[in-house]
């Protein structure tokens, strides 16, 4: 059976549901026996969800238009 270190090195594809069937079977075999790795998988999935859903780096709409305006003004100034 995989060690926890092996599991942690390999479970990236499992998190994204793209692990091949053989790898998936080996990872799930480990998970059935290891509560710690179950905790890590669960909390990492939640981490991804929280990070993806957060608006930590969201750019306000008004900023977009002002950047478009500034960029195009600088380009047109260079290339009349």
């Amino acid at each position: 059976m995989l060690s926890c270190a092996d599991f942690l090195a390999e479970f990236g594809d499992y998190l994204e549901n793209v692990a091949n069937p053989d790898l998936r079977a080996r990872l799930e075999e480990h998970l059935r026996e290891c509560k710690t790795c179950r905790v890590i998988v669960d909390s990492t999935k939640k981490t991804i969800r929280i990070v993806t859903d957060s608006d930590s780096f969201t750019v306000p709409a008004e900023n977009v238009e002002s950047i478009v305006k500034d960029v195009m003004a600088r380009i047109r100034k260079k290339k009349p």
Binding site: I40, V51, D53
Partner: protein, 576 residues
């Protein structure tokens, strides 16, 4: 040095060979005015390779130079040699494809490509000239990429044309060389060979397989004597190291083998040379020399996105003089020339190589471009608008800015750490993209290309204000091991208000070491696919996946104290 300055200040009319070849002394050579001996060597090579007609005609050779410039997107050299470009026959098209593949995809070049040209009706003398001309094309493109001279009077930028399509294979093919028949064996006192015996102690095989053109051999030896051997600016060890590192970047087993020997003669232990080949950052050399090798290695792939190309200012900051930088560029150009010659002629190593490059070494350096089909990327939603901009419709660029500002600025905010700097950097990204859009060859989505410019711009910003970079040592990368082992709440979002959550995530992302931070930003904030993120970072997919996973696990560590079950304050278990 005073002699050089005196020569430098004289008019450029003293290079009749360059005038004969181009009608004037092009700015490409004027940009090297610090080093007249280097210009003389280049003049001699151009005269022997391009001006003297032997088997191939001069227009054919200029078409080859133009083709090499085309496959590397080098407008200057295309303009310089494009004047004679004309409609070519099927036979000549085969010649141009040969040159294009050798110039751009040398690791994939093999005896098979030589045979294709032979089958088209070219004899070995013509093929030798094609290889030498292609190698010279790489030399000139390297110079032009690093020195970016202004266009000369009377030259015009090339008009976009149908790209060459190679009969390419993505497989690494090893075929034994040499590929061509050899000419008569030169006399024992043939000057180039006498020079090799004196300088190297042996005659490298690469120069034994070009005996059909002794005049070119003489010009090549003079290039070595005038560029590599003098020690008035860079030291011989620095220059041999440039040749070694460039050859390693080009995956050229032959030249890495020769350079290991040369450095050994200069007192560099073999283990040190091996380290230069694998990763010069870990070699026991000065920081300035690491920077020098960083910059010249970029010249092995002169297609880097804007903002990540050869940086003259970086080398000046490390104390290199203008003459030293020009010499480093010329040395790198010479290395690309020699590497291309070897790849085209299949010269076998002179010694048992300590390092043999193979399939597994492909794409080993960040930014290295994987050769792909020349067809445009099929599913790019920006393709039409990009084409309009490339055709001169400036206003169409506004659509691209509007479409991509959010993603570019979010990526930059995650790299530089604050919205004000991200806003300025975002503008820079779009200006660079507009300036270089003619070089965008649709081998990726436009959005991927744009994000790669954003990453380079953001990381360059960080380099310039290094003290701001927060916590590079946040985790011991080698010893990373999850420590937060408590179960999280079923709905962790409910434990923390949205505004605070946003702030926690931002701080946690910004605490990540840069390489993990950028990977996570591209996948989880900017929502790029794994393949797009890997392409934007110039990484293989498995390397990108490893960085994303490590980054996510580090984020999990940072966020865990806020999202574990409130009643659960002790670890549930331990790693085994």
């Amino acid at each position: 040095m005073s002699e050089s300055l005196a020569i430098r200040n004289e008019p450029f009319g003293q290079y009749p060979g360059l005038v004969a070849a181009h009608g004037l002394v092009p700015n490409l050579f004027r940009a090297q005015s610090e080093l007249p001996r280097v210009i003389e060597a280049e003049e001699r090579l151009i005269d022997a390779v391009v001006v003297r007609e032997n088997v191939l005609s001069r227009p054919q050779k200029e078409s080859l130079l133009c083709t090499v410039a085309g496959v590397w997107g080098n407008d200057y050299c295309q303009a310089l040699y494009g004047r004679s470009l004309r409609a070519v026959s099927e036979k000549e098209t085969a010649l141009l494809k040969f040159a294009g593949k050798l110039a751009r995809q040398a690791p994939w070049f093999s005896r098979k490509d030589v045979q294709v040209l032979r089958d088209t009706g070219f004899d070995d003398a013509a093929i030798l000239e094609s290889v030498i001309t292609t190698a010279l094309g790489r030399f000139l493109c390297t110079l032009a990429y690093a020195l970016h001279p202004d266009l000369d009077p009377g030259l015009a930028l090339p008009v976009s044309s149908e790209p060459l399509r190679f009969s390419e294979s993505s497989d690494w093919v090893e075929t034994p060389g040499p590929y061509l028949q050899q000419g008569p064996r030169p006399a024992e006192d043939f000057p180039p060979y006498a020079s090799f015996r004196e300088q190297y102690g042996f005659i490298p095989n690469l120069f034994r397989v070009q005996t059909l053109r002794p005049d070119v051999l003489e010009a090549e030896v003079q290039a070595l004597e005038k560029i590599l051997l003098p020690e008035d600016y860079l030291s011989r060890t620095q220059k041999e190291s440039i040749l070694l590192v460039t050859s390693a970047a080009n995956l050229n087993t032959y030249w890495v083998s020769v350079q290991g020997q040369m450095l050994s003669v200069l007192g560099v232990p073999p283990e040190e040379s091996d380290q230069l080949v694998e990763d010069h950052h870990r070699a026991a050399i000065k920081a300035a020399d690491i920077a020098l090798l960083d910059e010249v290695r970029k010249l092995a792939y002169p297609l880097a996105p804007p903002g990540s190309g050869f940086e003259w200012d970086t080398l000046r900051a490390y104390g290199f003089s203008a003459a030293q930088i020009v010499e480093a560029v010329a040395m790198s150009a010479l290395a690309n020339f020699l590497n291309t010659l070897q790849a085209g002629l299949g010269a076998v190593p002179d010694f048992p190589p300590r390092r043999v490059f193979g399939q597994k070494d492909l794409y080993r350096f960040p930014g290295q471009v994987r050769p792909t089909s020349d067809a445009a990327f099929p599913d790019d939603p920006d393709a039409d608008v990009v084409a309009r901009v490339q055709n001169g419709e400036v206003d169409a660029f506004e659509d691209l800015v509007r479409r991509h500002t959010r993603r570019v600025m979010a990526t930059l905010a995650g790299i530089v750490g604050n919205m004000d700097d991200a806003r300025d950097a975002t503008q820079d990204v779009f200006l660079k993209a507009f300036e270089h859009i003619d070089r965008f060859q649709r081998r990726s989505k436009f959005s991927t290309w744009l994000i790669s410019i954003a990453i380079n711009t953001g990381t360059e910003f960080l380099r310039q204000c290094k003290p701001c970079d927060p916590l590079e040592n946040f985790e011991d990368e080698q010893g990373f091991r999850p420590r937060q082992l408590q179960s999280w709440a079923d709905n962790p979002e409910q434990q923390v208000a949205a505004a605070q959550r946003s702030s926690l995530v931002r701080e946690a992302v910004l605490r990540l070491p840069e390489k993990y931070r950028v990977a996570v930003l591209l996948r989880d904030i900017s929502q790029l696919s794994t393949e797009e993120a890997a392409a934007a970072l110039g990484l293989k997919v498995p390397a990108l996946k490893a960085r994303v996973l490590r980054g996510r696990l580090m984020l999990r560590e940072s966020l865990a104290p806020h999202f574990i079950r409130i009643e659960n304050r002790s670890p549930d278990a331990q790693l085994r």
